[in-house]
């Protein structure tokens, strides 16, 4: 889209859309990508052969590959093997956002929801109908219907379970193309002092 035609731009986090009918798990030749009963789509790093057909099949282009030796922090090497966390990253296998099931098991929120300074990411349970962004709790069905939530590429039939809520005219301007725009003053700067730290 040419820059002149853009009225407003906003950021969309690049996470797996957690399709109910996921093309990635359908095309995997060895079943390295699979749906769990809890509803997450995980990748088994020990099974993946690195053929990358899942990357071609994902209609949102949300999978990435360990092309070389990824830099691994020392504590990751000590982690036990589990399909629920993708550390340590193995060269030659595919990875994606897995919604941190190991964090859910520990009863905390995924890293992205904990870290977002604006509380923009809500993580919830469609069964319990509750979601939270770290501070506020919402009833998922009401939250989505009241805020006109939509899913990406709904017409493809992948039935994603990540919902996006369009902005409501917030004052935080993101028009990156205004020549002399002033730097945005972030309201969260003061809150950063008392921010929640990573919970394990």
């Amino acid at each position: 889209m040419p820059k002149e035609e853009i009225l407003r731009s906003f950021y969309v986090p690049k996470l797996c859309n957690l399709c109910e009918h996921s093309p990635c798990s359908q095309v995997c030749p060895v079943g390295a990508t699979f749906s769990t009963p809890e509803g997450t789509v995980l990748i088994d790093q020990e099974r993946c052969i690195g053929c990358r057909i899942c990357m071609a099949a994902c209609p949102y282009d949300r999978r990435f590959f360990n092309w070389g030796n990824a830099p691994i922090p020392p504590e990751a090497l000590l982690a036990d093997y589990s399909a629920e966390h993708q550390i340590p990253a193995k060269k030659g296998t595919v990875m994606k956002c897995d919604f941190c099931p190991d964090m859910a098991r520990a009863g905390t929120l995924p890293y992205c929801a904990q870290g977002c300074p604006n509380g923009a990411i809500y993580y919830g349970d469609l069964e319990e109908d509750i979601a939270t962004n770290g501070t506020a709790l919402v009833s998922v069905s009401r939250f989505l219907s009241e805020n006109d939530a939509y899913r990406l590429k709904d017409d493809l039939g992948t039935k994603p379970r990540v919902f996006y809520i369009p902005g409501h005219g917030e004052a935080v301007g993101r028009d990156a193309f205004t020549p002399d725009r002033q730097p945005t003053e972030w309201p969260w700067m003061e809150r950063a002092e008392g921010a929640a730290t990573w919970k394990r």
Binding site: P23, V30, R47, C51, A57, W67, K90
Partner: protein, 453 residues
């Protein structure tokens, strides 16, 4: 009859000549090809050590030269199907000198093609996971099954009609060749001596195989195309892909066959058997398939272009006007239009013209596979800047090594196995001669190696 015996003797001498004499040119060619393959092996070791990061592929364009070359080689492997099987089923007599080479090309191309998939894997050490944990729903598993079946069928289809010729070699070369060769021919000829029971079994085996190999070959390239068509990438989301790829496979198969024929004809003095007629007939088939490919391309582009859904406009721009335009227009003009023009003009309707057309088509079809893979992945699925892809030295080295392996295997084959189907050529010649004379034509049974000379 004297003339016939002389003719047959000349045929056999020509077939045996590569085995009997090996000149320095052969060793030079082999040495060069081995050097290229060695360099490719070094490049692969670099890739194994450092991972696929040494290639030009990245997260956006995650398939590149390797998969394009894989599809190219599998496509070439349809040479054998068309010539050997389809022409045999339709009883086209002129095919006889060409069948053996076509079957060679098929087997070798399948071996080379399959290795490119393995080279492209991120974890080749886990290759057996496909066997242990394979999922029926995956296009890659269909691919593995189809290619394995086709390879087995092709090797069988190469071997079975070669039995009488292997028996000829066994009988004629006995004692005058190395021990391993003698053992090889004796074993592979499985006791052929041309009696009636053996002839019946051979005829029935060939009959079954020539019909069976056609649907197998069609299914192979169809499932290869479904690796792309079963995803939701805009340029790949087409129901036409199966037929399109099969037509392209036969097209590139004919082309490589013409090239291989021209080289072997010059190298082994086969001018008497591979005449201009063969090149012209194959060239006309090439032009026919070029027309079919033009039609398929028009269908594909018209149906997408008329509607211009999201992403199609980007794809058309990158393919026709911008980044991939030089490749596409070379493919269209050099690979599709040129063979038709060459076939239509009487001045070029000869060996040289068609060999040139075939060379153009081979290169153009590799280019077509390349831009199908890369442009398909390049159309952005989300609003981000499109990525770009350029193969690195590792990928080019492995491409060269694969082509060298293809050439090397065919070269070595010609030194071990008969490059012409002697008995088929002989029986075709007999039938032609007898048909033009007063004697009733000889029955179409396999020539008896044991009794000649």
């Amino acid at each position: 009859m004297e003339a016939l015996n002389d003719w047959e003797r000349r045929l056999e001498e020509t077939a045996l000549a590569p085995i009997r004499r090996t000149g320095p040119r052969f060793w030079a060619v082999v040495a060069f090809l081995l050097a290229v393959i060695g360099w490719g092996a070094y490049a692969y070791s670099v890739q194994l050590r450092d991972g696929l990061v040494v290639t030009g592929m990245r997260d956006r364009i995650s398939w590149g030269l390797y998969i394009a070359t894989f599809v190219f080689f599998i496509g070439i492997s349809h040479a054998g199907t068309l010539i050997s099987a389809i022409l045999r089923v339709s009883q086209a007599r002129w095919r006889t000198p060409v069948t053996r080479m076509a079957e060679f090309v098929t087997v070798v191309a399948l071996v080379c093609g399959a290795s490119y998939v393995i080279i492209d894997l991120g974890r080749p050490d886990r290759l057996l996971h496909v066997v242990a944990y394979g999922r029926w729903q995956s296009p890659i598993v269909w691919d593995v099954l189809a290619i394995t079946t086709y390879l087995t069928g092709s090797i069988t289809y190469l071997f079975v009609p070669m039995i009488p010729d292997l028996a000829l070699f066994r009988d004629r070369l006995g004692g005058r060749t190395s021990r391993w060769r003698g053992w090889l021919y004796r074993t592979l000829a499985i006791g052929w001596n041309g009696n009636a029971a053996q002839r019946r079994s051979l005829a029935s085996a060939i009959g079954v195989l020539m019909i069976l190999i056609i649907p197998i070959a069609v299914s192979v390239h169809t499932v290869v195309s479904w690796i792309f068509a079963m995803t939701m990438r805009v340029p790949w989301d087409s129901a036409l892909f199966g037929a399109f790829f099969v037509a392209g496979a036969i097209f590139s198969g004919i082309a490589i066959l013409i090239v291989v024929m021209a080289i072997l004809r010059r190298a082994y003095h086969l001018e008497e058997y591979l005449t201009e007629k063969h090149f012209v007939y194959l060239g006309l088939l090439l032009a026919t398939f070029a027309a079919i490919m033009i039609y398929a391309n028009i269908s594909e582009f018209m149906t997408h272009g008329y509607k211009l859904r999201e992403g199609v406009e980007f794809h058309f721009r990158q393919l026709f006007l911008a980044e991939f335009a030089p490749l596409f227009w070379f493919y269209l003009l050099g690979g599709l239009i040129a063979p038709i023009v060459i076939a239509l003009l009487p001045a070029t309707r000869n060996v040289r013209g068609f060999v040139a057309a075939a060379a153009l088509v081979t290169v153009a079809m590799w280019i077509e596979r390349y831009f199908i893979v890369v442009t398909g992945l390049r159309v952005p699925l989300m609003p981000y800047e499109p990525a770009s892809y350029a193969p690195t030295w590792v990928e080019w080295s492995l491409l060269a090594a694969g082509l060298a392996l293809f050439a090397l295997l065919i070269t070595v084959f010609t030194k071990v196995f008969p490059i012409i189907a002697v008995w088929e050529v002989a029986e075709d010649h007999e039938a032609t001669v007898a048909g033009s004379g007063t004697v009733q034509p000889a029955p179409e049974t396999p020539k008896l190696a044991g009794e000649v000379g």
